[in-house]
Symmetry: D2
């Protein structure tokens, strides 16, 4: 069997004193600081050749040669699983069309994909890797140029539904813990040719179908939507977590679907990553994470590996506070930079990202153990557990009664400091100890 | 009676050939091109003194002297109504604390405000002006530094409720057609001290109280929320129209509350003004408009007068297509630039803005009369009125059935051009004829 | 000879009443409203196949088949010149590697390109089209992944220099009026591996070489740099016009090089298009224009056709005020949207864009004829032609003397209104008459 | 003598194990890890009352009462120096109009300011504090609404020159190490009323005057400009460091003036803080730092205290690599958030910020000691020290010769990885050890 990552051995945990660039300093596959958020790091084997809008692919990696050659495609899976194993991660993810070529017709697609699912099943058995989630790519092919579920042509909708049907089936068969709905083209290019209400109805119906199908086939995992504000479209219908919430409420899906939050997409939507995660947990929508970061100064999806412990400690804290993952985990939908052409770069990206997430989890676990922030919040809002606050929230007082109460008691509330700087210092105290 | 705008007569419509800077070229108070969107232009008399974060007030206008002098405050209303009358607008709006000083206690607030409502009532009678909407300012006073409805202290909530109770009462008494809920501080400064779920519950309860009170007192107008993403807070709960929709759905208010969309806030949220209006009409939430524009290159609320016919024609088209205003209208929550210190500048800003809106309405009415865009959209989505499309939307087909249909028929959808450039040319053909 | 744009005849000027989507409403090739800015509209024949980062090409246009087939490449030039002729434009532009395939070695590149320059020369003769500018693509090929002139490897610099040498020679031979230096990769991905000072020296030396070479071969056209802030790099050295100015001053090139301003790049840099053009004319750097627009809500290069007369009237006004073009013109480096897959869409994009520029020129020419803005500015700054102002600017007064003058005369300057709203109304008066 | 910060003792260094919120964990006034960058932390005593554009001041601090009461103004200086001393910082800074009231005329301004300079001199003697820099506020007063140096009225220029003259004199007398030119209104609101070339000439002349005056009076400190892109103006002439460089080159000041870089302004200009500092060092313009941070998601000047060790370690590394500060230092032009109303908050903000800068300096000093990044860069660009590279940079080869060399040698450069991910991991290895 071909070895794709020659001269690179399994990456080991060597501790924070290690200066070996091909070792983990923080990520220790055998130790978990907190069971609830057991660091489910995992990865997609990238089929990206190092191209961008302004330039051709820069990578000469061997597995890229097998991309479109059907008879040798299994080699690509070989490369992927060799990579996963060398990184010692417990989970992987897949897109249907990364796994198998689309073929010349819908029937070919179905056959190609089924053949490759057999290969994946065998690979899972051999390696012990588990599937975090599967998904269908209904955005790259030209037929989806005007949307998949939101396409003006119901035949395109049906084509996408076919892919989703097959990808859901494969996910169930492979023991996947989640199924992700990517909406890469579910948006508009211009309002001038778009019926917003119609497209929303179509997308809502598609999601209902997916949920119904999940129950029909007895898939136990979670259904996830990944919010993204724009790119490649001018505007996506799943703009951010708050927008997705409204969408789910409209179609009665708020208890059936959760979000897969990508750091990069938060940046594009004008939010902090922390904000998106906190919004999701506060709305009961939190599902899983794509940890790839964006760039605060750039307006497109840079999909870089995470490298900020400061940012991710707050995200981890939020997740732990909400009880940790149930079915979710951390996926790296990340890419090394286009000039990072060496095989080692591929590892550096993943090692660095995994170390950042592992250390962030450690810091966050400390914060949870001595949860000063939560205590401060409980104190800050304590008035809402007293008489006036309770009666307002329960509906025992109406607007007029509250107004009368205020005037009768000549209320003159005392300002209380928000203490933001103090709390920021406390967080830094946990991170830099 | 003092004349505040000396040497400026009532502004007249003189037609587009006019070069008189103190005349309307397009806004004709007597002619309406479309009854459904009768150009309900209207205004707030600014009490802004020309200050900004980096500098003191630059204006020496006479009415500013009366701001905080209670015994002469009626003069300020005199100035406002003189201004409205000279601009020949049918409607005005008010904030409670612009109208009357807050006083040293909640009781003083109530008394001061009631006194001034008497003055407003008399002014309306004298001039024939009508009230588009009223609102309460629950964001400027230091007590609201950590929110009004979302404040950690229920006493602050009660104070805000008192203002809203009084402002709603005044709005009803003065025949107002809408009541607006401004959420200027309903957001967070830092997540570190914020309980998102708790604050959301508080705000939801406040809105329910307002709706219950509206029905109790028999106020027939609409309740409006004005979406804004941030500033002065880091994040507001009514970020944009889609976010507001999710909020209203959560609290069962989606049929009771509509949105007052501000162009400037759309810009801050990363949307086009057109997008926000189209989203609101598609969700059945469209209420009213604050027409002040932002600046695509700047990240704060510049509140400039509208001056783009290209932008506003699309907005007007969207409004007309949705059936026009019911209770809403166009408000200018706009300010002349800080160096525009002359009395005339005040008029130039309003005249220019009103002309832009009037001309945009004219262009949009032409577009509606020969609605090529709608015909194109109907054609583009026509497949959804045929068998496959209908069965998908009605739920007659489930995911598996759709997939089987696609495979059995070996579907291979034909791409159809989105024709964006053609449609953009058509719109320009309407604007530049 | 193959006809590529079948069923599409030469596009004619039919006047603004025309409803023919394949006719010009404003662009009249035979009439020029102002000779100084004779609307030098021109175009690049796109070799873009409708792909983006998230999806494959959507276009099936016949000429795309000839892209990489050397023996039939002349067909691509046939398609381009057929297109130019049908649009009735006087000029075209080229990239070296769009014109000819790169080949497998630098020698092949040189030969391929020379062969195609012969073809272009013949095409120019047959059609009468002229060359606005030529340029070399030193950013798409993987060898340029870390820059061309700014590459850490001098051999890559030498490769780029070879392309530029050849492209400059071809531009001269074909009678081109400008030579453009595109800096598509002249920036950094991360500061961690970048020597800013070294890369700046390299780029400065490259530009000096180009200018020396221009004089050596007697090329009479202008050398142009096209500012762009980022994308695909994190940061480009020619960020915006003001940055380019500092760069040119450092290397003594401010009288030798001018800027080719792209509307889209202004947007990405956080400036208005108007700002970039006004900055260039104020610094004596104005050269030429790429008229493709960006999207104020999106953070990447959307390269859309211009469609705002409001925006472009101000740009045209600025150009006319500065004396019009000398060697420059308007290029459309624009692309129809990915779903605009029909041949007609290609024409709609160009027709719409050319009409917008033509109408903008007409409006701007009116503004110049009765140049109220310039009169206002002359009046506003008139104090600088009086004694105090003159002495300050000429250096007759030093800081202390000015301070003494101010104190001795107890200066208390009178504020003058900036009249922004009035001036905005005047501009709208010219656009909407 | 009044104690303003009651119950707060001098803040001590207690080490990183300390949980005392009113102690330093990293900032140790007595220990300097690197003499070249001796952590010259310093501060402005804020006269900001906690107001913003949407709300009134929230602070009730005692010293704010003395703001405008001339006879007790010295109390404000008392408060400031008490604060500086309790924080144990070596330096402070001032604005002229924060120190003394403007008065009713230019003569009063001069007298008031001179009186207060006497007070400052005495305070410096008593406490041992030194002056990092002084500056004049020529942007807040209404007379500066259309600029100071760039005002259309030369009398306003003369007024600003008077303030600068006096502030420079005071800075010299008080032993200040730098003089800062703030350009808070040196920009435009609209191009429609602006003569860019004229305003640039005015500003250039003003800076020349300042430099001439510096030499005349024998002031040995540095003259600094603080780049800022916008706010309150639409566009400032000192947009960013690269723009300032071009400006200085135009007026022959590139060896006379340096930049004072503010983190927050880098964010507003679309750059990283690291970028601005690296650009300044690469251009020989680096002077001093305003360490207050912005918010990547917000578009205005939030002026928050620094709290990212990750960000500031890279900034410190860049400064150390360039040889450390000469006359500059770290100023906090920062404000606690509006709801941070307690006296302690004032200290928390400064303590946290100073600790972040001190820890960042420690981390950066480690990086410099084992400067892997510099070694990598030296290796990466080593080709430029070999024959071809040298000849290109020295000008020994012209364009044609380089092209001939490339073709004759059939150059085919080998791609080298940029290793970004590896380098990012190395940096994290220094920060999290």
């Amino acid at each position: 069997m071909t070895e794709f990552f020659k001269n690179i051995n399994k990456i080991k945990f060597e501790g924070k004193e290690s200066t070996n660039p091909l070792a983990f300093r923080h990520y220790d596959a055998d130790a978990r600081v907190d069971e609830r958020a057991s660091c489910r790091c995992l990865l997609l084997a990238s089929s990206w050749p190092g191209s961008d809008v302004f330039g051709d692919g820069t990578f000469d990696h061997e597995w890229l040669k097998y991309q479109t050659q059907w008879n040798t495609l299994a080699f690509k899976a070989d490369a992927a699983f060799e990579f996963f194993s060398k990184l010692d991660v417990p989970y992987y993810c897949f897109h249907d069309t990364d796994v198998a070529p689309e073929g010349a017709s819908i029937k070919e697609y179905v056959n190609n994909f089924q053949t490759m699912v057999d290969v994946l099943e065998q690979k899972q058995e051999e390696t012990g890797l588990k599937l975090l989630w599967g998904t269908a790519n209904a955005f790259s092919h030209p037929r989806y140029m005007s949307g998949a579920g939101t396409n003006p042509d119901p035949k395109v909708f049906a084509y996408a539904a076919t892919q989703i049907f097959n990808a859901m089936g494969a996910t169930k068969r492979l023991g996947g813990e989640n199924y992700v709905l990517w909406g890469g083209r579910e948006g508009y290019e211009t309002l001038l040719n778009t019926d917003l209400r119609q497209e929303r109805e179509q997308l809502g119906r598609l999601m209902q179908m997916v949920v119904e199908h999940k129950h029909k086939i007895g898939f136990k995992g979670a259904i996830l939507i990944e919010p993204k504000p724009q790119e490649p479209t001018k505007h996506q219908y799943d703009y951010d977590t708050a927008t997705v919430y409204g969408f789910l409420k409209q179609f009665g899906l708020e208890n059936e679907v959760k979000v897969n939050i990508e750091a990069n997409h938060a940046t594009l939507a004008g939010h902090s990553f922390h904000h998106e995660v906190a919004t999701a947990t506060s709305l009961g929508l939190f599902g899983s994470i794509d940890a790839n970061r964006g760039d605060a100064q750039l307006g497109w999806d840079t999909d870089q590996f995470p490298n900020s412990v400061e940012e991710n400690t707050l995200v981890m804290y939020e997740i732990l506070k909400a009880g940790g993952f149930t079915t979710g985990g951390f996926n790296f939908d990340a890419r090394v930079r286009r000039p990072s052409i060496d095989l080692e770069d591929f590892f550096h990206g993943h090692i660095g990202g995994m170390d950042v997430m592992a250390l962030s989890l450690e810091r966050a676990a400390d914060m949870i153990e001595n949860d000063v922030l939560s205590k401060n919040i409980a104190q800050r809002y304590s008035g809402w557990n007293e008489d006036l606050g309770k009666k307002i929230l329960t509906g025992d007082l109406n607007l007029e009664q509250v107004a009368n109460y205020a005037v009768d008691n000549n209320l003159s509330p005392v300002k209380e400091s928000g203490r933001q700087e103090h709390l920021e210092n406390i967080v830094n105290g946990f991170i830099y100890k």
